[in-house]
């Protein structure tokens, strides 16, 4: 039987072991959120399909037909949009759910011990499942357009992980801040709304690069989701979508950096959650 010592500032050593010990909680909390969401709703699961589908249609009409923006290579515009929308919606749903997760689970935090990191991560897992469902739309559309992806699709899981990281970093930071300062919950809807237009979801990032030049694009790539969306498009649309690797690298570094900051802030403030919440 191992000896456990509880004293101020000591929690670090056992933390990562505890995460492994409590691993079932990741699954249980995600399962709980999903089950609750779909109970008592007829439309339930269908919503995970309807929402991206409709948004994609609107965007295609607005950006392609009305604004006349070009797609990536020979890929159909709608396909390009959905390739960018999937990661974006995953990011938006993840960061929204994660940033509210601690306050939403206050009753657990004040009564039971488990590594609190599990809570926001479980929220991301829940959003990931929605992502997988929405992926069906992409598959259906590829079938419709008879558009087959190339070898690049093998790299897709990498970009999925990157998208998750992009959400987890700020998500952890925001959820920890939200525990103490409740007005932080207004920040996320703003980020999501603003981000949808700044990030090349409804349009191709090549447009930005061609119109404003490479240097500007580097600044543009400071938005972590730029790299993710570009990566997704490159992986899914095969040779049709080009990716600007320097920009992508910068974007990924920002993602990694934000994630480290997020985790650190979360761990630093975690001890006081139960007291403040």
């Amino acid at each position: 039987m191992r000896e456990l010592i509880i004293e101020p500032g000591r929690t670090e050593r056992n933390y990562w072991q505890d995460l492994w010990e409590y691993r079932e909680l990741f699954y249980i909390l995600a399962w709980r959120d999903i089950t609750i969401r779909y109970k008592q709703t007829e439309i339930g699961i269908a919503w995970a399909l309807i929402q991206p589908l409709l948004t994609m249609l609107v965007m295609t009409v607005v950006f392609s037909r009305l604004a006349g923006l070009p797609s990536e290579g020979q890929a159909p515009y709608a396909l390009m949009v959905i390739a960018g929308m999937l990661p974006w919606q995953f990011f938006a749903a993840s960061i929204s759910a994660a940033s509210q997760s601690l306050v939403g689970n206050a009753n657990l935090i004040t009564r039971v011990y488990f590594p609190r990191l599990i809570i926001p991560i479980a929220a991301v897992i829940t959003s990931f499942l929605d992502f997988l469902i929405a992926f069906l739309i992409l598959a259906a559309m590829m079938l419709w357009y008879q558009f087959w992806p190339d070898w690049q699709i093998v790299c897709l899981p990498l970009f999925v992980v990157l998208a998750a990281m992009a959400a987890i970093g700020p998500g952890l930071w925001l959820t920890a801040l939200n525990v103490k300062y409740r007005d932080f919950r207004f920040v996320v809807p703003f980020i999501v709304q603003f981000g949808l237009y700044v990030t090349p979801v409804g349009f191709s990032s090549t447009v930005i690069r061609e119109r404003f030049g490479d240097t500007f694009y580097m600044f543009y790539s400071l938005n972590p989701m730029v790299g993710v969306v570009d990566g997704f498009r490159w992986a899914l649309l095969g040779g049709q979508a080009s990716i600007y690797w320097p920009g992508f690298l910068l974007s990924s570094m920002v993602t990694a950096g934000l994630m480290l900051v997020g985790i650190r802030y979360f761990r630093a403030t975690e001890k006081s959650f139960a007291d403040v919440i």
Binding site: M1, I6, V112
Partner: protein, 426 residues
């Protein structure tokens, strides 16, 4: 010699409490925090908070297999101690050394979600409390059996009655598998029958070799289940050791405090009546409770009620005016009245008792309440003339007159045997 499984060394926990006048909101607004910072020079810390020590210099050790009761008044620091033991909050100073897994039960039904079925909630709650899925599956039938909710297992919990809800919640918690169990006041759930079941289960757990830390206000249960006790007062350990000794110390100190803190006067402004100064007197074997009623408005229907409680919080008797038929006329003015509890000193064992008095519209509404209005000490009584006094803690709450008869023929008409043992008659 059992080895120590929990050692606490000079534990302390400090909380920041907003000073009166400062933002009393539990959650601060970021904007307010910034504004406060700008108002003061940067090098001065924000000083609108006071430090409050919920626990101070707490040291104790618990041996393996011991069942320890942690008692104390509300706000003494019991729950804080449990939270630290459960790793929910961190101590501000000092430390604890633990050997073994800790399972905490600080609330019944933690994580229960109303939309999920009973079955789903068992898995959810079990996982949250630290049980592995395999463990839950193994115990599943036992849990359902203990709760007695088999028929309703696949119904959403929001449809359960409150009794079913707590039974299910407690059933999951009762099957926690850990070397150290920390339990906070969760036995006050369900009806009397279920409470007995819970206490029974706790006893089984306690005697199974597990170490249990148990917080409760129910001193009778604490004494029954625990061997050792720790008494906390205002964050400090004031007594520890044999449970009987600790409980006695606690009873004595709370009873002493009661006269100062109990309401000496109760006022109902809405109706314009007040009740005060309950005095106790003994007349022979009777107890007299004298009080003063003042009314500025006529109140049609007024009945006095009396409740007798032991020091441990057990209710000995409750005389509701609706049932006793006692009435006071609600005329304007000041009136003294007296309630005589006949043979009080003959029917109750030795010990301290606290008396509550209230005034109500019988069966409808309580107007005034004087809790712990009076304290009575029933002195040693040699009830059976054997030199022994029957005690409140040991011997129950009522003195029964008992006689023993022998003989082949127990027909009352043919009773001519001399009683061998008799209580005082009359």
């Amino acid at each position: 010699m059992a080895s120590s499984i929990i050692i606490a060394e000079q534990l302390g926990k400090q909380y920041q409490v907003a000073r009166a006048g400062a933002s009393a909101q539990a959650s601060l607004r970021f904007s307010e925090m910034l504004a406060a910072r700008f108002r003061q020079p940067w090098f001065r810390p924000v000083t609108n908070v006071d430090a409050f020590w919920a626990l101070k210099d707490v040291s104790f050790s618990v041996a393996e297999g011991e069942v320890v009761g942690i008692i104390g008044r509300n706000g003494a620091g019991k729950s804080t101690l449990l939270k630290i033991l459960s790793r929910i909050t961190e101590p501000s100073c000092g430390r604890i050394r633990l050997r073994g897994r800790v399972a905490s039960l600080l609330e019944v039904g933690t994580g229960f979600h109303p939309e999920l079925t009973g079955r789903e909630n068992i898995f959810l709650n079990g996982a949250i409390l630290g049980l592995r899925r395999g463990e839950i599956l193994r115990q599943f039938d036992a849990i359902v059996d203990f709760a007695g909710t088999e028929r309703f297992l696949d119904m959403p919990v929001k449809r359960y009655s409150s009794g079913m809800y707590v039974r299910l919640a407690f059933a999951v918690a009762a099957h926690l598998e850990a070397e150290i169990l920390v339990v906070d006041e969760v036995l006050a759930v369900g009806d009397a029958a279920f409470q007995q079941k819970c206490i029974g289960k706790m006893s089984t757990v306690a005697s199974s070799g597990r170490t249990v830390l148990f917080v409760s206000h129910n001193l009778a249960v604490v004494q029954r289940l625990c061997q050792q006790g720790i008494l906390l007062e205002e964050g400090r350990v004031v007594r520890q050791g044999e449970i009987r000794d600790v409980v006695d110390h606690y009873s004595r100190t709370t009873m002493q405090a009661a006269p100062n803190t109990a309401a000496r006067r109760a006022i109902n402004r809405h109706l314009g009546i007040s009740l005060d100064a309950v005095r106790v007197e003994r007349e022979g074997e009777d107890l007299l409770l004298q009080a003063r009623l003042e009314s500025t408005n006529p109140v049609a229907s007024l009945g006095p009620g009396v409740r007798v409680m032991t020091a441990a919080g057990d209710r000995v008797a409750e005389l509701k005016p609706f049932k006793t038929g006692l009435r006071l006329p609600g005329t304007i003015g000041v009136r003294k009245f007296q309630i005589r509890l006949e043979e009080f000193f003959k029917r109750l064992p030795e010990g301290r008792y606290s008396i509550d008095m209230w005034l109500a519209d019988p069966g409808v509404e309580v107007f005034l309440d004087l809790a712990a209005a009076a304290l009575v000490e029933v002195p040693a009584n040699d009830h059976y003339s054997t030199g022994h006094s029957l005690q409140q803690n040991d011997d129950g709450l009522v003195l029964l007159h008992a006689t023993l008869h022998q003989g082949a023929d127990l027909n009352p008409a043919a009773r001519d045997q001399t009683p061998l043992n008799a209580g005082s008659t009359g």
